[in-house]
């Protein structure tokens, strides 16, 4: 998944390799190189006939394995039995962690799950050829949290409209604030905006008209 493959020609194999590595911005250890055609500068009977070298360079995307290895080790060191499943699409990794103590890795309002997701994302993308968004869930927590936020947004929007006042929500991370904003985007009786600095930034629902 997500391997990067290029073909490169050069006057010699060495030149083709160095051009390809430069283009991919990687070192030789990170890639697999196949020689498709050797260069030659002398043809038969001494007739000068130049032929370029052509190589194929493959930069492997190991993001799913990296995520799996890292999270397995992390769960192990946390003393938790866990099964990790990584679904790899070209642009993101969807990770599901099955464990009997999911509360430990979710934390308050998903704080621990977000921290594990953030660290895993850095570990995965440190050396990977393409950027992968990493989403980690356990016990369908993210889906349930999203449903909770949609209900909350609609309830507080009603409160703002009824009272003709602004209603502030509790501080949320950017992902959760976006859910609130998008839930209420179509409601023309209110407007939403965020105030404050991270990590205390929160959404305000304001009654208009």
């Amino acid at each position: 998944m997500g391997n990067v493959v290029i073909e490169q020609s050069g006057k010699t194999v060495e030149e083709a390799i160095s051009l390809a590595l430069e283009q991919l911005d990687v070192t030789e250890e990170q890639v697999e190189i196949e020689i498709l055609q050797e260069s030659s500068s002398k043809g038969l009977l001494g007739i000068k006939k130049e032929k370029d070298a052509i190589i194929r360079v493959t930069l492997h995307d190991y993001s799913a394995e990296i995520a799996n290895d890292f999270l397995s080790e992390l769960m192990g060191k946390m003393g938790m039995e866990a099964t990790i499943n990584v679904e790899d699409s070209d642009e993101k990794l969807l990770v599901d962690i099955k464990t009997n103590k999911s509360g430990v890795i979710i934390g308050r309002h998903g704080e621990t799950l977000d921290a594990i997701q953030f660290i895993t994302s850095i570990v995965v993308n440190r050396n990977n050829p393409v950027y992968k968004k990493v989403i980690i869930d356990t016990e369908g927590y993210r889906v349930k949290r999203e449903e909770t936020l949609v209900v909350l947004a609609n309830r507080l929007a009603k409160k703002a409209i009824d009272s003709k006042k602004s209603v502030s929500l509790e501080p949320m991370n950017p992902y959760e604030r976006r859910i609130i904003h998008s839930t209420l985007q179509q409601n023309d009786k209110i407007e939403t905006y965020s105030v404050g600095e991270e990590p205390h930034r929160k959404v305000v629902i304001k009654s208009i008209g």
């Binding site: 890292f70 060191k77 946390m78 003393g79 430990v104 977000d114 660290i119 850095i122 570990v123």
Partner: protein
């Protein structure tokens, strides 16, 4: 349980830095609170702290989750 926590911090730190062999964690007990002193290569400091301390905060959150599970008190300090 402190030893497992030390190893947990080492695993996280080693996965983030360019020089994992220079990662070390020194564990101290201060009146029932376990203090984990994390030290990394100087050029790796940013890798464990992050922009606005975001990585350090995430590391502390994971360690805290483990500490709560084991019913212990722990603090992570990043030392030079």
């Amino acid at each position: 349980m402190g030893d497992m926590m030390k190893e947990l911090l080492e695993v996280i730190a080693k996965s983030l830095v360019d020089h994992p062999e220079q990662v070390s964690v020194n564990q101290k007990d201060n009146d029932g609170v376990i203090i984990l002193e994390l030290s990394v290569a100087e050029e790796d400091m940013g890798k464990v702290i992050g922009k606005h301390g975001r990585i350090a905060k995430a590391i502390r959150t994971v360690i805290k989750a483990y500490a709560i599970k084991e019913n212990i008190k722990a603090v992570v300090e990043i030392v030079q």
